[in-house]
């Protein structure tokens, strides 16, 4: 029996540094190697993520063998996802996870299903083994740097942030998180990538901490990814 083929995944983020970190975390959650679909997807920032997502999904569906698309965005000052948002048909217009999921749902609904037994591959039509591009959506609260500090500073959690938001006084700013991670508010890209990789690599083999401290933003991502293992039989 042949080992199952590695999954083919696409990743949409705002910078190569986020991409490097997310890619490592995805590997830890999946517990298996995967290959990346080229070219690298990038958005200009949150407002553009939502805007280009339908086109990206359509592209991945028709033109690539991508099994799934991973999207992780910073929450900035937006509403943080909560378990209440998970209720059926619920959609919080200020929550970026809700909004991204809605775009996934609406876009995929309008794309034809691929046949369960795909035709042999041709160069024009890659052999596509999935019906739909799978979804994994995460939210870094308030920014990826919070995830990087997880396990180093117990005061940096989703709960601390959302309580601060509710009280009208956030416990830390994005700039402060950047200082903590990079030693500057203006890291170069290589420095940002290096630090991102260093920090997320600490979670290898044990994502419990990250999932505990960031139950919605990281938890949603992890739950989406684990559901893939079930679906794809990996």
């Amino acid at each position: 029996m042949r080992a199952p083929e590695a999954m083919k995944l696409a990743l949409l983020s705002e910078s190569p540094a986020d991409e490097a970190a997310i890619s490592i975390l995805v590997g830890y959650v999946l517990g298996a190697p995967f290959t990346r679909v080229q070219p690298t997807l990038r958005a200009r920032g949150w407002p553009s993520v939502e805007q280009v997502l339908p086109a990206i999904l359509r592209h991945l569906h028709f033109n690539t063998e991508a099994d799934g698309l991973i999207v992780v965005v910073d929450s900035d000052d937006s509403v943080v996802h909560t378990p209440q948002h998970e209720a059926p048909a619920y959609h919080h217009p200020g929550c970026r996870i809700c909004r991204l999921r809605t775009v996934f749902r609406r876009t995929l609904k309008n794309l034809p299903l691929n046949a369960a037994h795909p035709a042999p591959a041709t160069s024009a039509h890659p052999r596509i083994r999935r019906e739909r591009v799978l979804r994994a959506v995460g939210l870094a609260v308030p920014a990826m740097e919070a995830w990087y500090l997880c396990g180093r500073d117990t005061s940096i959690t989703e709960a601390a942030w959302t309580q601060g938001q509710a009280a009208g006084r956030v416990p830390y700013t994005r700039s402060e998180l950047k200082w903590r991670v990079y030693g500057t508010e203006r890291p170069t890209l290589p420095h940002e990538i290096k630090r991102a990789v260093q920090e997320v690599t600490r979670h290898q083999g044990d994502l419990l901490r990250l999932e505990h401290d960031f139950p919605q933003g990281f938890g949603s991502l992890a739950r989406d990814l684990r559901s893939w293992r079930a679906e794809s039989g990996h």
Partner: protein, 335 residues
């Protein structure tokens, strides 16, 4: 004029072809062949001007190195011109012409040669434009527009109607100005000046802002009463405020689609390059005018955006510029 260019082993363009429309906007990363295409056209112009017109039988035994083949629109659809060189040569310097036999074929080639002589390429430089220039240097706009003042001074005299249109367009786009005039300066030089609308003052060319000079140079090309047959403009958005990019597009369309401006002028084929997503946005209705230059490692290929069967679907809810930035169209730097 030129309907397609096929490349074999020319710099990064190992094996690719590009079909050319009346207007073409090239986008892509560094080293993806945008400038190589323009170089090839300039080389074609030069060699076609040099060579004695060969008969169809004179097809010299051709070389094994890089080759660039040009196809043409009617009435030259049966002419093929190929540039070639040996692999170790730095630039192509052989030209092969295949045209129909007989006098008619020779006449076709002679006529095409005249047209090829009209190929021009520009990369504007506002610093060069700022200085006064010898009045006699004004026959044709220089590659970097350094002789702008002389060209406009000559046009004001010899083609006053075309000049008046240019000035009207300029003052419409830059409403702070009410006109252009010229001042003789030492030893036969001429200086361009712009009159301020709400003031008796004139700004001399060296005091005009960069954006104003770029726009003026583009309008000078767009309103040229004797335009090139094919015009290349690198970095068409250079120095232009994003809200004025529409004017750049319109000015270039004026050359490629003269009917659009209700004038009777020859069609000028235009090839422009840009890195501006906001300029790209403005071609949403004409994806066939966008050429993406893709780069894989050291090899580059061209693709016309309209060749993507799903492009209309992809553009539905997204600006073309952001779509390009996202990566799904290609034409982005590798990682």
């Amino acid at each position: 004029m030129i309907s397609a260019v096929h490349f074999k082993d020319f710099k990064a363009l190992r094996s690719t072809a590009v079909r050319l429309e009346p207007f073409n906007l090239l986008i892509g990363p560094s080293g993806s062949g945008k400038t190589s295409l323009i170089e090839a056209l300039l080389r074609l112009r030069y060699l076609a001007g040099q060579a004695p017109a060969p008969g169809p039988a004179s097809a010299l035994a051709f070389l094994n190195g890089p080759q660039i083949e040009f196809h043409f629109h009617p009435p030259f659809e049966n002419v093929r011109v190929t540039l070639g060189c040996q692999a170790d040569e730095l630039s192509c310097h052989r030209l092969r012409v295949d045209h129909p036999p007989g006098l008619a074929g020779a006449r076709q080639w002679a006529e095409l040669r005249t047209q090829l002589h009209g190929i021009r390429a520009y990369l504007l430089d506002h610093q060069a434009m700022g200085a006064p220039v010898l009045r006699s240097a004004g026959t044709e706009l220089a590659t970097n527009a350094s002789n702008l003042a002389a060209v406009l001074a000559q046009r004001a005299q010899q083609a006053p109607v075309a000049f008046a249109h240019l000035v009207a367009d300029f003052c419409r786009i830059m409403p702070e100005f009410s006109g252009l005039d010229f001042r003789g300066v030492g030893e036969g030089h001429v200086e361009l000046r712009a009159a301020l609308r709400d003031s008796p003052e004139h700004l001399s060319c060296e005091n005009l802002s960069q954006g104003t000079l770029y726009l003026l140079a583009i309008l000078t090309l767009a309103h040229d009463p004797q335009p090139p047959t094919l015009l290349c403009l690198e970095e068409a958005d250079r120095g232009v405020h994003p809200r004025l990019l529409r004017e750049v597009r319109d000015a270039l369309y004026r050359l490629s689609y003269p009917v659009a401006t209700e004038t009777t002028r020859p069609v000028v084929q235009v090839i422009a390059t840009t890195h501006s997503p906001y300029l790209l946005d403005l071609f949403r209705d004409h994806p066939s005018e966008i050429v993406l230059a893709h780069k894989q490692g050291n090899a580059a290929t061209f693709e016309r955006l309209s060749e993507r069967p799903d492009i209309l679907e992809l553009m539905r809810e997204t600006n073309l510029g952001d779509l390009w930035y996202s990566g799904i169209l290609g034409g982005i730097p590798g990682d």
